[in-house]
């Protein structure tokens, strides 16, 4: 797992090798896309500054997204889970570490947990029926002028349908059934900040509704077109604004176009020996601009911070003009921080075009780890202590028993008898010798980063604390598999949906003294609601603590159920999710830690930020965008 670098003084090719290696380490499974994936490129902006040589190539996201990505599911078209003819689960494609592997335990877990059966399939509509997409409402004057400034655009059904949704369950479910609601009337691909300024000016002039689109990974209904919108809706796809404009090694900052997606940003910086360290679970597809406008959080925030800690400067185009600060001072006392009007604005005020971000040298050494606890209560107590001592590793996550089992079901086929023998021995040691109850134990996954010596020292400190709470070190493999689960979970949801199982995740942040209560009550609420709503099989209701802070933690929930026998499964799921959110709020949890509000959670904004708070936000909106050009109607 370790990689040592010669400290940034090496030749370019050596750098590249290190970077290559690192990519395989950090995301565990991310692979650089084949050259052929690079898609149509719009004409370059005539930007004043010269570009870094290395930053132009290897763009992951083409203008025609549907050529590489699923139109009705998660991720790349070539990567998906399926049950093969022998009834074994496998993961297709070549992109991921798990690609091409057999997961022998998944079928039993799947059938056992959900009461599902491989005989009962609920396949998706394979192809987008373009005739189901409403004809576009075009604003001809706008289109004409757009043509004259030379920004690429499209009003083809595929492009529009792709940008009318995020990845909420109800959105994907509808697509799988071939149902397409209101979608943008056209898509534009600006290539740089100046393009965006022109587009926004035109939109204002012709009263067109703009909806910024970054990576499309929203899970808050933020990308849904408001059905009451009568103007022409234009989706502003930032994916072609994806260059690193400069790297400042003295201040350790990088100036980056906001359309760049996480994996590209990381890869390109790595080539120069740097990283941002911002790794949200969606980093394969989500964009920098999206992170800024939703207040994203990365799994390694303990070292690098969340997005609000990482940005030094933001440039945003609004109907009133461009908003930005005049300098790059690391902290200012100049009234309320205007960045905080932008962070979390969810595309209601303008388009983030360029961001200056902190960067760090690529860490010399990385190590995964895991700890098994006799029960969830002990695990939470341990995380609390780690937070108290402020010695949290880059990432520390605590999965509950259900997720621990789930993780086990994703173990790839073991090649040798020896490994399976060792696994058996481990299991025996923990359950029989140490007396852990297999139906209660839970596991924390760890990721350490830094220089080798410090990592090892840090590791010891954390394991010592864990031991006080009855924790047993359970190896690097378990840790790494835990993080892998994060990246493939969205692919797994698609598999579930092929067999009548629907699933969703949601998150919150909560003070330490309420973590256990929130976890217990929300999980139980989900189970009870499912039962009350007529779900025939008991659902999977699971949680994990994914981030620790001084004063609290971030908790992530998964729930999934078999919807056979339900006439309107999506409605049931929506009711359950709604109830779960009510439960979170009643127990002192927040409306969202990092997913944002969008339209899905709008109804709770008033109670969340108070009447006056809503008024403040509204008055900003009224000033910045009086004609509601950025009319996605998120947040307020």
């Amino acid at each position: 797992m370790a990689s040592s670098s010669s400290g940034g003084s090496g030749s370019g090719s050596e750098m590249q090798r290190t970077a290559q290696h690192r990519i395989s380490v950090i995301a565990g499974h991310l692979r650089r896309p084949a050259e052929g994936d690079v898609a149509v490129r719009a004409e370059e902006c005539k930007a004043p500054q010269s570009r870094l040589e290395a930053s132009g190539d290897g763009r992951t996201v083409p203008m025609k997204r549907h050529e590489v990505m699923k139109w009705n599911g998660w991720g790349y078209s070539d990567s998906r889970f399926l049950f093969n003819k022998k009834g074994q689960a496998e993961f297709t494609g070549k992109r991921y570490k798990l690609s091409g592997m057999i997961l022998p335990a998944l079928k039993d877990w799947f059938e056992g947990t959900f009461g599902a059966s491989l005989q009962h399939k609920s396949p998706a509509t394979p192809l987008l029926n373009t005739s189901a997409v409403q004809a576009p409402t075009l604003n001809q004057d706008f289109v004409e002028e757009l043509k004259s400034i030379g920004v690429p655009f499209s009003h083809e059904a595929e492009d529009r349908a792709f940008r009318g949704h995020g990845h909420c369950l109800h959105e994907i479910f509808a697509l799988r059934e071939g149902k397409i609601g209101r979608v943008p009337d056209m898509v534009v691909w600006p290539n740089c900040h100046n393009d965006v300024e022109k587009i926004v000016a035109l939109a204002c002039k012709h009263n067109v509704c703009l909806i910024p689109y970054g990576g499309g990974t929203s899970v808050s209904s933020a990308l849904e077109c408001p059905p009451e919108e009568t103007r022409s809706i234009v989706s502003l796809d930032t994916s072609q604004m994806n260059r690193i404009l400069w790297i400042d090694e003295k201040n350790l900052t990088a100036h980056v176009e906001a359309g760049i997606i996480g994996q590209d940003l990381e890869r390109l910086l790595n080539e120069s020996g740097y990283c941002t360290g911002h790794e949200p679970d969606s980093m394969e597809f989500s964009s920098l601009g999206g992170w800024v406008s939703t207040r994203a959080s990365g799994m390694k925030k303990n070292i690098y911070g969340n997005i609000e800690d990482l940005v030094v400067h933001i440039k945003m185009v609004t109907p009133q003009g461009v908003i930005e600060k005049s300098c790059q001072g690391p902290r200012m006392s100049t009234g309320p921080d205007i960045h905080h009007f932008i962070l979390g604005s969810e595309g209601t005020l303008g388009v983030v075009t360029e961001v200056t971000m902190k960067i760090r040298p690529v860490p010399e050494y990385q190590k995964y780890g895991s700890v098994v606890f006799p029960n969830f209560e002990q695990g939470v107590a341990c995380l609390r202590e780690v937070a108290k001592q402020r010695c949290a590793p880059a990432s520390i996550r605590l999965m509950d028993n259900e997720q621990f089992m789930f993780g086990h079901a994703l173990k790839p086929q073991v090649s040798s008898i020896f490994t399976s023998f060792l696994d058996g021995l481990k299991k025996f040691y923990i359950t029989k010798f140490k007396g852990f109850d297999p139906s209660r134990l839970c596991v924390a996954t760890l990721l350490f980063e830094g220089n080798r010596e410090k990592v090892l020292q840090h590791e010891k400190q954390v394991y010592d604390i864990a031991a006080k709470f009855g924790g047993l070190a359970a190896g690097e493999d378990n840790g790494q598999r835990g993080y892998m689960l994060t990246f493939v979970i969205a692919y797994l949801r698609d598999l579930g949906m092929d067999y009548y199982v629907i699933a969703e995740s949601f998150e919150t942040s909560v003070p330490w003294d309420r973590v256990l209560d929130v976890c217990r009550n929300v999980k139980a609420r989900v189970v009870r609601e499912c039962k009350d709503k007529g779900v025939q099989f008991s659902p999977l209701s699971s949680c994990r603590v994914t981030q620790t802070y001084d004063a609290g933690a971030c908790v992530y929930f998964y729930f999934a159920f078999n919807y056979r026998g339900l006439s309107d499964p999506v409605h049931v799921y929506e009711q359950v999710e709604h109830a779960a959110r009510e439960e979170i709020l009643a127990n002192g949890g927040s409306l969202s830690h990092h997913h944002g509000v969008g339209k899905l959670r709008k109804e709770w904004m008033r109670e969340t930020v108070s009447e006056v708070g809503v008024g403040m936000l509204q008055s900003v909106k009224d000033y910045v965008d009086p004609k509601n050009i950025f009319g996605n109607r998120n947040l307020l």
């Binding site: 029960n375 209560e377 209660r440 003294d513 309420r514 209560d517 929130v518 217990r520 009550n521 139980a524 609420r525 709020l585 009643a586 127990n587 002192g588």
Partner: protein, 682 residues
Amino acid sequence: VSYKDLRGMKDDEFVDILEERRCSSDLGHAFRTFNPQPYKGGPPCSAADLNKALLDSHFLHRVVKEVAMETGSSQEKVMEEAGEILVEMSHNLHLPFIRLMGYTFSKVIKRLFTSIFVNMDGLNTLQQAVQENPVILMPNHRSYVDFLIISYILFTYDIPVPVIAAGVPLAEMKIVGEILRRSGAFFIRRSIGSDKLYWAVLSEYVRGIVRHGFAPVEFYVEGLRSRTLKSLTPKLGMMQMVLEPYFKGEVFDITLVPISISYDRVLEESLLARELLGVPKPKESTAGLLKASRVLQEDYGSMQVNFGQPLSVRKLCEGKINRSYYNLVPRDLPMKPSAEALACVSWLAHVVVGLQERGSLISPWSLMACLLIQEPTTVLAEQGLLWDDLTEKTLWLRKMVLDFGARLNWPGEAPNSAVMSSAISLHRSIVYLKAGRVYLTQEEVPLRRHRISPEEGVFRTAVPVLMLAAYRNQSLHALVRPAMLAMSICITRSTQRDELFRFFCFLQEVFANEFIFIPGNLSQDFEEACLCLNSCGAVYISEQEVRVSEQSSEVITFLQKLLQPFIDSYQLIFRCVCEEEQVQVFTEKQFLAAVRALALKLILSGELHTYETLSSDTQKNVLSALCRLEAVAKSEINEFKVNKAAVRRITDALCKSRQGSITIFNYNYSVSSIIQVQLQLH
């Protein structure tokens, strides 16, 4: 959730648990493998863990700090004090003692009762419920026998035995106190007042048990044994403590299980009647218990324990409680509950009492008591009542009560007449059957006394009459709503729904201490009353009207007469309070004595027919009612001050029209003159 849905009643299968005890070894029963399915919500913990968690809790430390500041003593000292309180309070649930208790209990109850009927459905659902959420067992309290019967049943059916809230006097009994403690009893002082530290230890102790789901918690929401066999106004302190973990989100849900225990014959029947007449209750002591062993010689018929449907606090509180009230303060900060939470606690407590009532089984004897007590006492004592009349009327009443939806415990296999005569013989301490007539039983005059004073005579009659009243009360819950409607019809002489409803509400308000109604449930209660009277053909109902049907006036008359003793007692006492001239302020003791003396006098002169006015329970209820209606103000030193105009207004409202019953408003008795009489007597 409407109240009717909560009833969830169907005729469950009742099984006599003594049947097996009579044919297999009690020792075998006591040593049976006891392996109940525990609460799944958390890791198991011991009684010692609980106590330790309490003493380590931030909550207690905060309170200790406050108390130390206020009293000026050191924190260590206050902490020590808290430790002592805990030692006095805490249970020490111990399986071997449960077995010992089980063995002794088997021996005793087989002697006392012919059978103990338990609904198996209830036990089965309870067995499931204890695994899912912390469970609160809430039996009614009619006899000391109640105390361990639930533990005994749960032990027999492999369900975790509860910890039980008991009064400190029980702990002070030699040996017995310790046995109870080890059988799961924990002990609460009777008057805690404003002792902050005691409240803190107690409330955290109770919350701890609920939070950990250590064991089901059993307590009497009525607070104490009902001397009248009627439900009592629920006490809210304990209820609030057990519910708080839910309000604070510390548990997902809490399950309340109302349990209705009914007795064919209550062990303490005559003691209770005497207590009501002012003979002080003997202090709980082991010696007293041993002396009381003579009660073992008598037959007490059967006992019924009905485990009600488990209630989800979460479901019941939906929309009533905003749990985010606690979100902005530390979890362990001592906090006053919100007004909303208090209202909800009170509502839930009343709901449970209501369900206890509806779950209890009405015995044939209780129906007979309803009829017997309507006869003039002198007639019952001297001429007796024709047996055939009584049986015929009892059967009539049985049908009516069934129409009203009540649950009856009427043995199906024996002929009706045999059922009724065996009820009479079981209750020979109250009535006896001679030559086809039923007479009131009166205590024999001790031989050495050749003459008794008229006052003593009243007292001798009052004992069986109050016992009779208590057994009548066992049926009241099924009859009180239609009876109040009948009373409204008689008093207002109106057929207008609105007007009847207004008066119905007024009666509920006045008699709120007498009959337990769920707050905010008035229109459903009224609706139910209308439907009941309609179901037996006594009234026709329409959108605007409730009209008495000509041929069924006997129903209305019966129901009105059922409530008449209460109306008469209240009016007499109102009058007594009002006629007051000199003494403006009185204590409860003075009040009770005055009312008793007045009632005694009027009974002797033949002007007052109900002996229930003599009952201290009635008298205290009137005082509470007057306080509640703000016609009497209670001072800080527990003195009462009357607002006569207000009392008169209530009196006038209650006697809009008087017909056929006694008139008591011509007397010029007043509290002061009575007090003077009393003083002269002593």
